[in-house]
């Protein structure tokens, strides 16, 4: 049983997150993925739909080729939250929108999925984020819920993977998480930025992604 939360946000961050997820890992039986999407972020919705469809296809392929194994892609659902900070939004108004986003984040963390996984696991085991501002507020909400003994310490481990685009400096979300220390795992994807802030470099995880030729090989090239 596994229940994992993914914070998606803006096209670029979502693309990277899904590439890191799409590394061919399977099966996902008894596994639930919950996605947090910012309101109005249709691009992330499309990328996500593509990812989940590819996972289904991969499972069907595996079921087709091997006689014994039954491959399950697991289950997933989506929760929409108010965007913590729009790109170019003035800094002074950020606390207000952030507050609104936290109001949506609490129920997304506290309402278990409506399936067998959700009946067995009340809270996500891990929370993944890679840079959108919402990621910081999710980590903050987790921290507050743990301080108030609402959720146990062993749940909702916050795993922050800095965006692949950040080669030499951390993003604002990354800095906030580093200085508050509320992420349980904090890694970057480049050595330069890792060395500058004294954190762990996890390598270019985005390139674990399956490529198009892995998904549907094209005919012989000339």
């Amino acid at each position: 049983m596994d229940y994992t939360l993914f914070v998606l946000g803006s096209g670029g961050h979502t693309k990277e997150m899904l590439m890191m997820m799409d590394d061919g890992t399977l099966p996902f039986a008894n596994t639930h993925r919950r996605y947090l999407i910012s309101r109005g972020d249709t691009m992330s919705e499309h990328h996500l739909a593509d990812y989940e469809a590819r996972l289904q296809t991969l499972c069907a392929q595996i079921r087709g080729t091997s006689s014994s194994s039954s491959c399950s892609p697991g289950t997933h659902d989506k929760r929409t939250v108010t965007r913590a900070r729009r790109v170019h939004q003035p800094l002074w108004s950020t606390p207000l929108t952030a507050l609104l986003s936290i109001v949506d984040i609490f129920p997304a963390l506290l309402t278990p999925p409506d399936n067998d996984v959700g009946r067995a696991l009340r809270y996500p085991g891990r929370v993944f984020s890679n840079g959108p501002a919402t990621g910081f507020f999710v980590a903050l909400a987790v921290h507050l819920l743990k301080m108030g003994y609402v959720i146990p310490e062993s749940c909702c481990k916050v795993i922050y993977i800095e965006s692949w685009a950040r080669i030499s400096t951390l993003s604002l979300t990354g800095k906030l998480l580093l200085y508050t220390g509320i992420a349980d795992v904090f890694v970057t994807q480049h050595q330069e930025v890792a060395a500058r802030y004294g954190v762990q470099n996890a390598g270019e995880i985005v390139f674990n992604s399956r490529r198009l030729d892995d998904i549907e090989p094209s005919p012989v090239k000339c």
Binding site: K15, D23, W164, Q200, S209, S218, P219
Partner: protein
């Protein structure tokens, strides 16, 4: 005789535009070079510069080489599926094309995923130097060739991209099973608080 298609996609990002680059790839000299290299199609995504870009193209219509099609457009909802797929080799139909891009990470990642040679042209007029930094990183790792926004540099880069592509071919052969393509990178699904610590210990013992 049936001619193989070969596509060159130029993309500048949806929001800011990149006038210098768009101007350079709308030079008739660049078109002649592409035609000589066997390209049959040049597609330019210009973003907000679409207005003058299509006017420029119209005024130069009669200078477009016979076997080359030049097309400008503002943007497309799914650049990867709609446009990049045209650059991919297809048996009996198309030769491997090339993508010329500003150093936007979304485009770079898409091109990597589709498996296309990429030439990155950092937009030096942008205030932050993230694009230059990204371009440098991509060149260092052999993911892409860098060029300035000058058609002469671009021509050299297209030659180089052909060569680099041969290298990458052997570095990233096609896989059917799940591969670890980024050697040394952790896998997202295997990242747990304890295991990351273990990984650190392992790394320290290796060092």
């Amino acid at each position: 005789m049936a001619q193989f298609q070969r596509h060159c996609l130029v993309t500048v990002g949806a929001t800011v535009g990149f006038k210098q680059l768009t101007e350079q790839v709308l030079q008739p000299e660049f078109w002649e070079f592409l035609s000589a290299e066997g390209f049959t199609s040049l597609r330019i995504q210009c973003g907000p510069d679409i207005g003058w870009a299509s006017a420029r193209l119209d005024s130069l219509r009669e200078r477009v080489p016979k076997w080359l099609e030049v097309h400008v457009f503002e943007t497309t909802p799914n650049l990867m599926m709609d446009e990049m797929m045209l650059c991919k080799a297809w048996s009996g139909l198309r030769r491997m094309g090339v993508v010329v891009s500003h150093a936007g990470t979304g485009t770079i990642l898409d091109a990597w995923k589709v498996g296309l040679p990429v030439i990155v042209v950092p937009n030096e007029t942008l205030l932050d130097n993230h694009q230059a930094e990204m371009a440098k990183h991509l060149a260092k790792e052999g993911y892409a060739i860098t060029s300035t926004a000058s058609y002469l540099d671009l021509q050299g880069a297209i030659h180089k991209a052909d060569l680099l592509w041969q290298d990458n071919k052997s570095r990233w052969p096609p896989h059917t099973v799940k591969p670890q393509k980024a050697p040394g990178a952790l896998r997202l699904w295997e990242m747990h608080p304890q295991e990351v610590e273990k990984e650190e210990d392992a790394q320290m013992t290796n060092d």
